[in-house]
Symmetry: C2
Subunit: 455 residues, 2 copies
């Protein structure tokens, strides 16, 4: 546990690479080495040392370092990596991140032996991008200047590509992350170790997992069941079909296991399983901002009819229910707005502005028949202005136990509303169906919490 912490919170880091070596097909190259150095110098708040094994940058000899680094990031071909891991471990380095892949079984066994001999922890090999910690600026990725916003969503990805896709997504849409770990081949540090660490991490409120395979199923389930009492875990599993499982095996040396086995394991572990990267990020956003949903009943409050109907379809398709509004709520809506039919999904009509939304949302959130609310506030074809959206977090603050998500549907409409309330505790989605998926994830977590407290 101590050294897993060193993977994310080292005071001192040594970057081990070469300014001359280039693999014919593979990641090792002077460019990658340069870029990691660039990112670490730009973002990392601790000390960064550099060791260029056959070139001119930094030191060539560990003895010349002013102090012993806690963490070493190794960007060399497999055989060279082994050599320098052993040297650094003997010198006192506690944790390693191995960027490049191409390790054979024997080399993997050698890595494990070093871990035992020197009592160190190793992330990888084949992590491709290593680790990001937005709190201390640790950033071992080779994507120049890439740094997500600080936030409370942690990501563990077995695949460099999927992790990079999530990272690119988060940066582009301004979703805040706490930690990112690319785990690669998992010879030592695995999902269980990382979930244990992130479970204690105060910066992290939600944990996202992309995995292709899993070795120690039992300890994984035990650990996640402990952690999900405090924070939700969402998983995307790659390699669910026979064909792609074959690829997963050669990709990250994973035994994929049958999809049913994983489904059962995720269920037992209290993990929310999702179907693709977008659903993963959308669910994470909702869970990082909103409380779990403690019943099935969704109210839809919209200024357009058609998208509200699509949302209602999605509610039922996702196993949730359309809330039946109480008599009191219906009467009060009818009294205030005679043109509005007080039936869920509520169509507030295209001329609804902030005041109508505020009043109706307040009534609906207070209704005991309602467990969660989906708001749709389009600008196009409506009189709603982006500034009007400010009433949504305002009303929501009076009802902290019921989740609420907002859908300014489309493209530009989403962007305009995002500029006004994107930083608020209200998660935003660009289509009704995605907002409903987010509520489904919040409901799923509510059910998991209920089951854990009963069991």
């Amino acid at each position: 546990m101590g050294s897993v912490k060193a993977l994310f919170e080292p005071e001192t880091v040594l970057l081990v690479g070469s300014s001359t070596l280039k693999e014919k097909v593979g990641l090792v190259s002077p460019q990658l080495f340069r870029n990691v150095i660039h990112n670490m110098r730009k973002f990392f708040k601790g000390k960064t040392f550099i060791m260029d094994v056959n070139g001119k940058v930094g030191v060539k000899d560990l003895e010349k370092l002013p102090e012993t680094p806690e963490l070493a990031v190794v960007m060399l071909p497999s055989q060279d990596s082994l050599h320098y891991v052993e040297k650094c471990a003997a010198f006192g380095v506690k944790a390693f991140i191995l960027i490049s892949g191409g390790f054979n079984d024997d080399q993997r066994r050698q890595l494990l032996r070093m871990k035992e001999t020197y009592d160190v922890r190793i992330l990888g090999p084949n992590t491709v991008m290593g680790v990001i910690n937005t709190a201390n600026g640790l950033n071992t990725t080779f994507e120049r200047d890439l740094m997500p916003k600080r936030g409370n969503i942690a990501v563990i990805s077995q695949s460099g590509g999927v992790g990079a896709c999530i990272l690119d997504w988060a940066c582009f849409y301004g979703v805040g992350l706490s930690k990112v770990a690319f785990v690669g081949d998992k010879v030592d540090v695995d999902d269980t170790d990382l979930i244990q660490y992130l479970g204690e991490d105060e910066e992290t409120r939600v944990i996202c997992l992309y995995m292709e395979g899993l070795k120690e199923g039992r300890s994984f389930i035990e650990e996640t069941r402990r952690v999900v009492k405090k924070k939700p875990i969402i998983a995307l599993k790659g390699g669910i079909t026979q064909e792609s499982a074959h690829r997963a095996k050669s990709h990250t040396a994973s035994m994929a296991g049958s999809d049913e086995v994983f489904n059962a394991a995720f269920k037992k572990a209290g993990i929310i399983r999702v179907g693709d990267v977008e659903e993963l990020m959308n669910a994470a956003l909702a869970l990082s901002k909103q409380p779990p949903m403690m019943g099935d009943n969704v109210a839809i409050v919209s200024n357009v009819g058609g998208p509200a109907i699509l949302a209602a379809d999605a509610v039922v398709r996702n196993g949730l229910k359309l809330a039946r509004l109480s008599e009191k709520t219906r009467v009060e809506i009818e009294r205030a707005y005679p043109g509005v039919d007080p039936v869920n999904p509520l169509d507030l009509i295209a001329d609804a502005r902030a005041e109508r939304f505020q009043k109706v949302l307040d009534l609906v959130l207070a209704d005991e028949n309602v467990d969660g609310v989906l708001v749709i506030n389009m600008l196009k074809s409506c009189f709603f202005e982006p500034e009007d959206a400010k009433v949504i977090p305002k009303v929501a603050a009076n009802h902290p136990k019921k989740p609420i998500v907002d859908v300014p549907a489309g493209g530009e409409d989403f962007k305009l509303v995002y500029e006004v309330i994107g930083e608020s505790p209200i998660p935003l989605y660009n289509l009704p169906e995605k907002g409903v998926q987010a509520l489904k994830a919040l409901r799923h977590y509510g059910k998991i919490l209920n089951a854990l407290h009963m069991g």
Copy 2:
């Protein structure tokens, strides 16, 4: 048919509204009237006349117009609308678009009587946004300055909100449209009329439908079966659950019908059914740019492992197959790139650039075991540069009968590649699963064409 054409291709248009009237709950307002005038003056290449029924803008008397307008756009409360439709019809106007809603059954009947008496065609009432034709600049929407790019995708939406959402999406993501029709309550002009018109429209290559209900099922099926031989039709149906069907009824006076009935009708009609707005636009984009897919076998060519695995999962989940590459293809890939495992999904490794993609894509597209190709070219975690993407349309041009879609996954990666090849015939998607959905739509159209030519 003649007058349906006048809804989209009039030489002269009369805008009938009021610069003083404002409905308490509803669309009629001086602001809406002003905005439609603004858009028509800004975009429409024909003549626009204005009739302000109780104010000072334009004429108050039809006799004062220099010529008889072909089309009148009426933006008045229901009773006033009836009055002016009759006046204009008697004066010789051939086609009407009714923007506002709130018509009761008796008023609808009166509209139908006028249609018969004067032999005119009526779109609406309750069309909210009316019509857009990007070729002649006709734009009766009240969203100031909103105009999609000229393109070959036509949209027919029963809902103002869903139509506006599609429109906003298309504008934001630069997807080109030919015609947009908001059909509202469909007392006269319905989906069948519009599909007939768009089937003949040379600007239109794909037709998108959002519908909540349908009256004349048989003629609809007959007409679509005729049209889909020339161009694909994609439909999104709202109100598929009992609860939302109730809302659809009050929303656009639709009898929704059971979901199974629609499924059967769409199948018989040769329509590609989709589940949400995004899938609708993604399928339309693919069908507007790529040929139908004439077999089930997909090859995946990627520079990252994990996203390729997710794509492979999606291929199988969507009822397609992972192509088994021919011996010849495998041998040639192995010979050219010894580090690459020549198995589908193909992982070209993170350092693949234009040259490696070009060579492998050419081999794969020429392989008789491959019916369509999904390319994944991420920038993050890879050495691929946006400019490298230019080889994709280049290679594709040599294999015009096989569809190809591209996935620069994530957020910024997508944008950067879009800037380079977004205008090319290669459709782009930001996630592997969406690219696979696009191929599924192309395969679906291939099957429809086969069935129609057999039957």
